[in-house]
Amino acid sequence: MASAAEIIYTATTTTTTTTTTTAVVPPTWDLVTQKLADNFVYYLDGLDNLPGGQIILRYIKSSYKNDPVRSLFELALFIFALNYFLSSKRRENKSEFVKFSNKEIDELVDEWVPEPLIDDINPYEKWQLDAVPEVKGHNGSHINIDGRQQVINLASNDFLNLNENSTVKEVAAQVINTDGVGACGPPNFYGTQDVHVRLEEDLARYLDGEQSILYGQDFVTAGSVIPAFLKRGDLCVVDSGVNLAIQKGLILSRCDIEWYDHNDMIHLEQILSEIKPVLDRQKPIKRRFIITEALFANSGDLANLKTIVELKNQYKYRLFLDESLSIGTLGKTGKGLVEHCNIPRVEVSISIGTMANSFASSGGFCVGVTPMIHHQRIQSIAYVFSASLPPYSAKVVSQAIKEINDNRNAEGESIIIKSLHDKTSYVHKGLSKILKTSNYFEIVSDINSPIVHLSLKSKYREQLELPKIYGNSELLIKGKPAKYLNPFNDYYNFESFLLQKVIDFILQNSNILITRSKNLVEHENLPVLNPHLLIHINNGVNQSDYQKLLDVFDLAINKVLNPINNENDLFELTNEILNY
């Protein structure tokens, strides 16, 4: 083929030279080209005899516009197309495929031993299962657990004790009588009933948002809302103390994550200003969010919302706020951290929350501006594919909002919220008085938090040679979850067990149930704080009962922790753990 191109070229040169042959004696080169041209024309004529050759001949003649370069270009293009057409298929990801022979496959299949669906319980962890109290009968502020009557329940997230509110119960029974117990489908099909629409309106009005959307389950709310807005290449700057639901949502969304130290506004600003030049060059502009929790479930402190809002406006980010624990507990009328900090709700693009805590029901919700909510109705996985909230749960929340919002005192505060605040500060003050001189415990949660977090003092923890922090920080540093699960940690186990002993002592001596933070350290992706003792303030419990707790608390911690003075004492507990 290449020679044919040459021949065309020579054939054309001859046409120009033949006109001059009469004047000049043809040199040998011209003679050669003449010869070649004659041969070429002869062969071209030969094409005439082949089937279809005439068409090719006609094409060559008509497209040859007395310009050899054009013909050459066309021929080259044609040859290239032919060459491309005849090339065989080439796989791009070839290196990733491993070819096995049938024999190898059989061997692999024979060797394969399936892992057990459920692992045997590690004897060192078995006590954790046994320590879970079993509530017999009704759940509320006073419960019956294995053989104990009327235990004061300070381990429930139902802070306002609306579970035991008679109107709320009445409303629930009424809706069950008329609508049954299930919603019969995802919201976009048959799952939306009048009570759901009313509740969405109620929530939006109560929380001063434009619109709201309901989710059937609260844990999936973050995991569904975050991926609905963020995807690969988008950016979010996240507090490193956020709860597990948000962490899972972030990993699911595949967005780029920048972590700032927990509640450290200087670090947040440092990160924002560091990545600003990169973002300024970005085309097209990607979505970017600052993500934080209002009242942190892991540590019990409040986000510094005022500074965060200033920073997000300065650097042009959107704010995603998880108000799961703060709605119904913070602010004059329980509207959450936003009301507590006197910041308008519009500053927060997306707020999510749960109806399983203060609203005494189940499910989650998201409040925001109209386009944000509208987007979720077709893009949020849990909304589109999961069953809708049962109608009675929805109605209960509507009623709960009424109970919180409608009964107000002269200063415009919700009566029920005010009472919770009083009890919270009473317990907080009482405990800090007791713990001022204690060697063992300190309060780490915010004074407004309805869950009082008590941690072992760092000096005492050093004495026991407990590590500063558990888990791993791979996700924090590399932006990707660690490949392997964390190893089982003896120290976390021992520390949790010490707390459990305090809980058991208090339960036995004063009939009060408190709890501790429970984390599966093995599965955590972020560093895990040391376990905390948790006291959930409950509105249904009298001040005198809280006094009972305060009375026994000092005795309990001294009794349990006095014998434990160094690391060896910790390991002495092993037998006790095995025989719990």
Partner: protein
Amino acid sequence: MSTASPKASYNYKPDLLGLDVSPKQGGRPHSNSTHSIGSPGRTRSNSNTVITPIITTPPPPHHQATLNTRQRRSSSIIQHLEPDTLDTKIDQTLNPNVNANWVHSKGAWVIHVVLIVLLKLIFNLVSILDNDWRWTLTNVVYNVGSYIMFHQVKGTPFEFNSGAYDNLTMWEQIDNGDQYTPTKKFLMSVPIALFLISTHYSNYNLNLFILNGICCLCVVVPKLAIAHRLRVTLF
């Protein structure tokens, strides 16, 4: 993919657990025992590489943002896209790529011919153009259209792969990047054939010929195997 049994990754031997119960002086008796490394099934991946225990160190306070290093832009004009990470590849295979798969159907092949014929017929109706310009416009419009569709627009309009195709043009998405597949051969031959046919039926002057030729090359070159995942940034 290794042939060893997944059982080999078990570090958990219940009979060994009893050994470390008694406290030992100077120490952390449990921290070196086998079970502290990992319990059964406690690896996140199927591979059974040796598990190195992660030593818990608190992250350095005020660590730097990682985005700076992750998205450093090269200063050269021509650069290759970085190869896809495993996560991206997994996302790409999770769902069929509806953005690129339709080009394999018969109708998608025929529509190219139909569109070209229609274009030519429409330009034939414009009486102020002579034949050369009609062919040139047909050629140019088809090539510009196919350039925008196959080589200009990146990503997919659908949200099925979590943005795993966001950096790839449609041509690079077709057949998952494989080269010399039947569809790619057909799509490559259309602009070339159109160019050759148009030069045959018209009487281009040199300028029009160059215009048509360059226009044709603009859609042929990005389709070449060497242009796969190549990016030219002029400004």
